[in-house]
Symmetry: C4
Subunit: 387 residues, 4 copies
């Protein structure tokens, strides 16, 4: 809190991915020898990437394919997948809506209630396919619907809202106890989102297995403009990682820090780990996969808010298969949007890091991406005029 913004008003600087770069040290490592595995509870994954619980990003097919590739896709358990036996019609309605109607169409679908039996059914389908079942619920529904899903076989419970706190004051609802959910669940619970040291520490003390870090940075999210709430992912991740390290000293338990939002390219994945993350959760890049339910469109959950939508449907380019996206090869795309684990391993190689713990300690410089070194063609690309 050391920058004076006004007479009695102080702030701290919050850095995002585009503000920084990483610099190599005294040794390099063969990318082939790097270990990029992650753990959530007792579950071990070959690659440290989660697909965001968004209707445009994850369905059963995506879960199966990402499982095969070594990662984890999270199903939105209060979205289109659990409102419709056959979700394709609703997805098509969103995709086909003209630009100026898209938010309203998403709002109308958001107003339709979730069917509990479909939640159970989706969990069973995922288990039947031999995958680890992971689904996300809002804090309000975690206690009832979330635990019902656990009973049906859910392996990892994600409790997620734009901003999550331990203490929620309300005259209408009884306050949710994240601690009680963690105790009752009996499976790993991942909770988010938060951006500060203090909140991360409290969520850990409540028993979370992992924490989702990031408010507002996602490409479909307009929370920052609508609510003024947000922070940069580098600082948010570093602060949350500091809470993880302090909590580990305090309790002996290591909680996963999962940077969620704002990751568009391989370089952003690398920066998230260098900021202190144990895993990353990704939306937009997966919405750009050939297999995505969005099929060229991407939208967020907050887009469906009944009176205050804070997201937007965006058109995205299909880049390639999930396999190309995660494991490569990147053919014809040299901007870092494909082969995310290849980029991660290659970066670990030049930075001399054998595993993600070492990458968390890489040397960082402040060096904004924009307008560096006369790269006029980059500017053109960024403002959308490139060829």
């Amino acid at each position: 809190m050391n920058i004076q913004v006004g007479r009695n008003k102080f702030a701290y600087q919050s850095y995002g991915f585009d503000d920084i770069a990483l610099v190599p040290g005294m040794k390099t490592t063969d990318p082939v020898d790097t270990d990029i595995s992650m753990n959530i509870g007792d579950f071990r994954f070959d690659i440290p990437i989660l697909a965001s619980a968004m209707d445009s990003t994850v369905d059963l097919n995506v879960i199966k394919e990402i499982h095969r590739l070594g990662g984890l896709a999270v199903m939105n358990m209060q979205g289109i997948q659990t409102k419709f036996e056959n979700p394709e019609d609703a997805l098509k309605k969103i995709r086909k809506a003209p630009v100026e109607e898209s938010t309203r169409v998403i709002q109308e679908l958001a107003a339709i209630p979730v069917k509990d039996e479909l939640v159970v059914k989706r969990v069973r389908e995922i288990k039947d396919a031999g995958c680890i079942a992971c689904g996300s619920f809002t804090p309000k529904s975690a206690d009832s619907l979330g635990l019902k899903a656990v009973e049906a076989g859910l392996d990892i419970l994600v409790v997620q809202s734009t901003v999550t706190s331990l203490e929620h004051e309300s005259s209408r609802f009884e306050s949710l106890s994240l601690k009680s959910i963690c105790e009752k669940a009996g499976v790993p619970v991942v909770i988010g989102n938060s951006v500060t040291y203090e909140v991360a520490l409290e969520i850990m003390r409540a028993g979370a297995t992992g924490i989702l870090v990031g408010i507002g940075p996602g490409a479909t999210c307009t929370t920052r403009g609508v609510l003024a709430v947000g922070a940069g992912q580098v600082t948010s991740t570093a602060d949350s990682a500091a809470a993880r390290d302090d909590y580990f000293k305090e309790s002996g338990r290591y909680v996963q820090i999962i940077t969620d939002g704002g990751i568009a390219r391989g370089g952003d994945v690398v920066k998230a780990f260098a900021s202190g993350a144990d895993a990353v959760m990704i939306g937009t890049p997966f919405a750009r996969a050939n297999e995505s339910p969005g099929q060229g469109y991407h939208w967020g959950m907050a887009t469906g808010h009944p009176t205050l939508p804070r997201g937007t449907r965006i058109k995205v380019e299909k880049l390639g298969s999930l396999e190309e996206l995660i494991l490569g090869p990147a053919l014809n795309r040299s901007d870092g949007s494909l082969n995310l684990t290849g980029a991660l391993r290659e970066a670990m190689g030049v930075l001399g890091c054998r595993n993600l713990k070492e990458l968390q300690k890489a040397n960082m410089v402040i060096c904004p991406n924009f307008l560096t070194e006369g790269k006029t063609f980059q500017i053109n690309q960024r403002v959308g005029m490139g060829k």
Copy 2:
């Protein structure tokens, strides 16, 4: 004054809305339980929003509708409404003027004198409609015409110019005493605009009930480019709020800080309060309402300066009704331009603030809006090339 700009030249950094964001704390609050009421003198308003005294923004219909919605619209008492019995012809002339003629047309209309009897008539119309009557006068006219309006029933007197000071040196005119106006008025007096601690404190000591904070930030205003005068709204509001708090300790009287200008979206409203404001005054968003007299056009008062126009007529998109703008719902607009009080309450919810006093203490980070987290689509939108 701690940044060295040259050998013997120092400056301080002045922050604007786009430089900052807010971060949640340890608790959250149900938006339904938030109190966003404001007071001006003994008048209490359900919502803390004033509509700017601009010809393109406020007429009798707008005043009635904003009154119904719980806010306050201020009539420009030295503009088109008080020069013409029927203002529609003049408004149409401005709207229909070709781009290159628009400033000249506004200048010509600005040269036409105000009719005192129309000032009295407008006040009575507002009172007859059951609304709180609030009108703005330049410092030069406040003593004569402004007090005449008070006699006619004006409830709140706004004394406003680009820059207001307590001490005005002139060889031509006798100096205006803001103190004497505050004493003679017998109704709450709101004075502006100013941007510093020192000037705010002096205006409070002169007896003001409220202070308008902001020089140059409005969308139709080119004061910064023409005169070099201006400051960021976050720092200006925080400094003025510090004066309010010090003056309250000194006098026991609490003066309202009203951030005026530069507010385009819900997030800006939230940031104004987090900077220390008690209320906000808004122009452009109201000019975009279906009911606005500008009907798709917006211009400022300084546009009419006889030899040095410092504003411009801009074309604005109609967004929806005043009700949608203020209370929502936002349908098909997810960028924060509709449902301003919804955004305010929602932000207070995630920031755990039950009232505006608590919001004034929210945690702030420096984190520029522009070019954060790979949001290419935002850049496109901002430079006007988005789809």
Copy 3:
């Protein structure tokens, strides 16, 4: 030199006009009562504005009109005016050249030698018109041709090059002594350009009456990109003004600081004075006057360098007459490009400054022009996409 750029490398921050704004203080002043006169030696001018010695900006007609309006136009005494009895043909050749040929055409004309008798003739024409005769020479020609012009009646001698120093090492030419020129001239000598305290101090000690401050900022100048040499006008002016004040203590002689380059609008004029200037020299705005020899085109002297052009011909919009530009009124232009003295007086009014000495002490804030307060329309205008 307090910013560490690398291990053993330090730099200081240099601020330009777009980095700052000015904030009002405790009093305001009636613009009518402001004194904006300037002195160069014993010559007194009603307005503190010089027109740059550029072929596209100044000819005899412009000199006469700016004299009438109270300012001073400087003739380039080694340009088209002194190479051709009738310069109009050469000007037309430059104006008519296709974009890709324009630099070459300017280079060809630059290679033509100056005619001494035309220098004498131009000086006499200016004197015969009843104006103060002021002309610029390169350091190399100042000793011969410059003194010849003084003999012919030149009132103020300007010695100007991209970068001027007291000590010039050369194996080809004998070093120019600025001190000896100042002594021999017998008229006020204005010398430039420089940007630092140390060089300004030495030029003053050599006997200069005025110093031109600014390297690289002009709109037609590409010195910064070609040579890497440049600095921000706010810091350069403030540092040079500090040299002026120190030299005044040392010698009792007050040297004029003339900020030269980078001034596009009224706000920039105001900022130059607030940075410490006693006068401003302006190119582009005058090239945009109806009367300019460039007639819609503008180019710099360095554009004519035989092997390394450091300028470019730019197309400019005609804005109005010299009178509208300097004294106003600004009709149909509200961006600060017209009525420069009106803007200066109005700004002095709101800043409470009765004269330029007081304006030199105005309060400054760091507050970048670009991307402030959601002014999307400004961005559009700046990147050239506005309507």
Copy 4:
């Protein structure tokens, strides 16, 4: 490491060319008297410019012409020149590929193995032409193929990869000893790329004659976006120069610092030396020469990575001959893209530097290029919309 990015995370600021400018001092020098020669081992060159070892930039003709002009062109000894007896067909294939196919075509050609006999042949051709033979090899091939080239007559051995370190861990390959290569080579060895003091010092201790400084800044390079690895050229050069000076004190041997990448205009060349460089390596400007093998296209070596391309083929405008590019004159181009040594000498003149050692001590200011002094036309040019 003094900027706090998060709780336990620190970084330092890394500056690039666009962040800085240079300011003149107390004396100026005649450009004609400046000495811009450089040495690599016992080889002396009239001009301190190397052409990058890229397929689009250097072939035998370019080597001959740059040798004639006084510089040094480096051949990529593991590219198209050493895979094909007649490289023109492959070059044509790359140039003719449609935009969306270009990366794949470059990848396919990259997969073709180098022919050792062609390496030997190219070295002999260069020697037969009377030029100094300089070729680049990856660290992996330097020990075998590189030494074979030295046997064939190679005068200067360049060992280059995106990131080079002294210690490379690999389970697949035995670690390369840069020290042993430097000992065995018997000719000057230039090693890169690196960006930090520590790595530069170790490479010097291994026996390098020169060090290539720069990771990620080149125009065809997307390493920064794909891998997050990179740094600004001003800070990287200054830090490496500090290592050179410390190593000189330690050993008495002076190692050349060669800034490689990100240099687009004359001003960038000047800034590289002012940051501490002894020479510059340039890609894009040479790819824009009439004689370049790329013939209007430019691409980097990392573009050919089999699964993770980190470069892109860009279309570049042909600017003029290599002679115009290096020695000038610049006709019709005033943006600093032609006559690079003319710009260097002219800048040394205004900065009063007789040789490159003096230029290394020039005064630097932080003063971002972008958006300075109202240069709207520059913005337009940079975002590609200029006329």
